[in-house]
């Protein structure tokens, strides 16, 4: 190791989802906090293995939908019965019924925006620069390999102990990732 190069973390490669999941359980139980598992597809059960809580994306979607619903009714009320009232067939200027299809679509539209943009916000994406993306070996993370990465910034990180932990989890290849 050359000392003047900053390191980002220790990258451990696994060949099967089961191996990666057992490794994740071990890392979780060892009490690490700045670490992650990178996989080509979401693995069922990995959230528990990592000790992740339920995603907060639902809240973004909920507030998006609530905004869409409110704004939809306000828009129709403003346009058809306040700013430019038109009487059609002697019916009341405002009713909850006739704008409903429009409000319904606006609710769905903004709830969908909330879900997608909320997800991107929670993931801090787009992020076009990432130390892992410079690593040649890491290309397998979108192909058929599974990785556990423990950041050097983790308070529990120690070169030898972290290595031992990952080796005991059955890791066959390990390398340091430059920052």
């Amino acid at each position: 190791m050359i000392n003047n190069i900053q390191t980002y973390g220790l990258l451990a490669e696994f060949n099967t989802p089961a191996d990666a999941m057992h490794a994740a359980e071990k890392v979780r139980d060892a009490g690490y906090s700045r670490w992650d598992v990178h996989t080509p597809f979401p693995i069922h059960g990995m959230d528990d293995a990592m000790g992740l809580k339920n995603s907060k994306a639902g809240w973004f979607s909920f507030f998006g939908g609530a905004t869409g619903f409110t704004c939809g009714y306000l828009m129709v009320w403003f346009m058809n019965s306040f700013d430019y009232p038109i009487v059609v067939g002697g019916k009341p200027l405002m009713s909850p019924m006739y704008p409903f299809p429009v409000v319904y679509e606006m609710t769905i539209l903004l709830a969908a925006f909330g879900a997608i943009f909320g997800m991107l916000f929670l993931n801090r994406l787009p992020r076009l620069y990432h130390p892992l993306l410079k690593n040649c070996r890491f290309k397998g993370a979108t192909h058929d390999k599974f990785y556990v990465i423990i950041e050097t910034a983790d308070p529990r990180y120690s070169e030898s102990e972290t290595r031992e932990l990952l080796e005991s989890a059955g890791c066959k290849h390990m390398e340091m990732v430059e920052d």
């Binding site: 060949n15 099967t16 989802p17 089961a18 999941m21 994740a24 992650d36 598992v37 990178h38 080509p40 597809f41 979401p42 693995i43 069922h44 059960g45 990995m46 959230d47 990592m50 992740l52 339920n54 995603s55 907060k56 994306a57 639902g58 979607s61 939908g65 129709v76 346009m79 058809n80 700013d83 430019y84 059609v88 006739y98 704008p99 299809p101 429009v102 319904y104 679509e105 606006m106 769905i108 539209l109 969908a112 925006f113 879900a115 997608i116 909320g118 997800m119 993931n123 994406l125 787009p126 992020r127 076009l128 990432h130 892992l132 993306l133 290309k139 993370a141 979108t142 192909h143 058929d144």
Partner: protein, 475 residues
């Protein structure tokens, strides 16, 4: 085969062979094989048939735009519209294309909520088909307004005409919101599904420009499980939101007709009947597109006969709903006791447009019934030919609904006959060119099967399966 809550000593016998489901990816293909196979389509040489199809589709697309230019510069008189048939092919084509656009979201959303894992092999292409079909559909309401430079009046935009706003009691305005929301949400859903796959291609491709482009659009995706966790939640939410959306869009399209007072249009059965018809036509189009792609790109292990059979079954189910709706319309026309309604339906089947009606019935009611037979469902050539009939039949359905209901108004002085003009025909044929150009570009530059999703449904991806690395009963 064991689940996490079981004691280490507990063992579960595998299900008997005869009730085991056929695998979704045949020949136990590995995870790497899946990305090699699908990304290989983009990385490989452009096939000759692609260029041939492009050389046919591109001029058709140009013709479509030329016809639209001619229409705008001359006026709607270039179409075959007359009094009383003021809605002709433009509306027929609009409903036809938007109907086709329903299968993509149904496959990606409804089948996702129903845990139908087979959707993963077809959802990407079907969603792309949806987006391109909605683009083709969106052209027609825009250009049919006559003075298209005023089409922006459809949107609630501030303007200098004093406080004048759109009139929200009109189903045509509901349609503007439904279709634009549908396009936006379908597009975002499709793009979100693409992000991990774009990252796969980013990590494989060699060229500077392609590295840059795939890198940019994959947003820096690293496959982090912390990201997957939010991603899967957002995916579930979008599926939950798209399901009522897809059902509402064609319902609202049907309101364009059903909310009017016209016999033949003013029926309460329209929303469910339109939605079933839309899914029917959409699956017809998915079959028409996917069967050739399957053999051209040798996707037999990913898009198995089981996938085709299942799509045939959906077509059969929705086609039968459509057939039932045709019958029920006639029953209510008689049972409802309204002479105008009764006349509209008699005239539909035996009037001057009888030929359109019976083409519709034979394509939409009889064709799908062949899918009861496994022999026919598993024969891709026959399925492909039948799927073409479904497409034809569903176009005629919209023609029958729009034109036959309009052509005989209440008094005989207001009776007429509609025939499309050359411009009508060429514009419609041109939209197929536009659709094919977009679809060809899609299969050339984007993964046409969702790589990460297909990987996720294989045994290799299951941490509790021996192929996924599970070790006997003690993990």
């Amino acid at each position: 085969m064991s689940s996490p809550g079981l004691l280490p000593s507990a063992k579960i016998a595998p299900p008997p062979r005869e009730i085991e489901r056929e695998p979704l990816v045949l020949n136990n293909r590995s995870l790497g094989w899946i990305s090699d196979q699908i990304a290989g389509i983009i990385e490989g040489k452009t096939p000759t048939w692609w260029w041939v199809t492009m050389f046919i589709s591109f001029p058709l697309m140009v013709m479509c735009f030329a016809m639209i230019g001619y229409l705008i510069s001359t006026g709607v008189g270039v179409w075959g519209l007359n009094h009383p048939i003021a809605w002709g092919w433009a509306i027929v084509n609009f409903v036809f294309w938007i109907g086709i656009g329903h299968a993509g979201t149904l496959i990606s959303a409804v089948l996702f909520l129903l845990r139908q894992k087979w959707r993963t092999s077809i959802n990407r292409a079907a969603e792309a088909m949806t987006i391109f079909a909605v683009m083709c559909a969106g052209i027609f309401p825009m250009i049919h307004v006559g003075r298209i430079w005023f089409a922006w009046w459809l949107f609630p935009l501030p303007n200098a005409n004093g406080p004048i706003w759109p009139q929200f009691r009109s189903p045509l305005l509901w349609d503007v919101f439904a279709v634009s929301t549908y396009f936006t949400v379908s597009f975002l859903f499709w793009y979100m599904g693409l992000i991990p796959d774009l990252a796969t291609i980013r990590d494989r491709c060699k060229g500077f420009f392609s590295k840059f482009a795939y890198g940019l659009f994959s947003l820096g995706w690293t496959g982090s499980n912390r990201h997957w966790s939010n991603y899967e939640k957002a995916y579930l939410l979008l599926a939950g939101l798209s399901t009522p959306l897809v059902l509402s869009v064609h319902s609202i399209v049907s309101f364009d007709f059903a909310v009017s007072q016209l016999p033949g249009w003013h029926t309460t059965i329209f929303p469910p009947y339109f939605v079933a018809g839309a899914i029917f036509s959409g699956f017809g189009m998915v079959l028409t597109l996917m069967i050739p792609l399957r053999s051209l790109f040798k996707l037999h292990d990913l898009l198995t006969i089981r996938h085709i059979e299942l799509m045939c079954k959906v077509t059969l189910a929705t086609g039968s709903i459509v057939g039932y709706a045709y019958g029920m319309e006639f029953f209510i026309a008689w049972y409802g006791g309204n002479p105008y309604e009764a006349y509209a339906f008699q005239n539909r089947a035996f009037g001057p447009y009888w030929w359109a009606y019976w083409i519709m019935i034979s394509c939409n009611v009889i064709t799908p019934q062949f899918f009861w037979f496994k022999k026919l469902r598993t024969n891709v050539v026959i399925v492909w030919i039948l799927s073409i009939f479904v497409n034809i039949g569903m176009w005629f359905e919209r023609f029958v609904i729009v034109v036959t209901s309009l052509h005989r108004d209440y008094i005989p002085a207001n009776w007429g006959y509609y025939s499309p003009s050359k411009v009508d025909v060429l514009t419609f044929v041109g939209t197929f060119g536009l659709f094919m150009v977009l679809f060809l570009l899609f299969i050339r530059f984007l993964p046409l099967i969702a790589i990460s999703e297909v990987k996720g449904v294989t045994n290799h991806a299951d941490p509790h399966h021996p192929l996924g690395g599970a070790k006997g009963g003690h993990h």
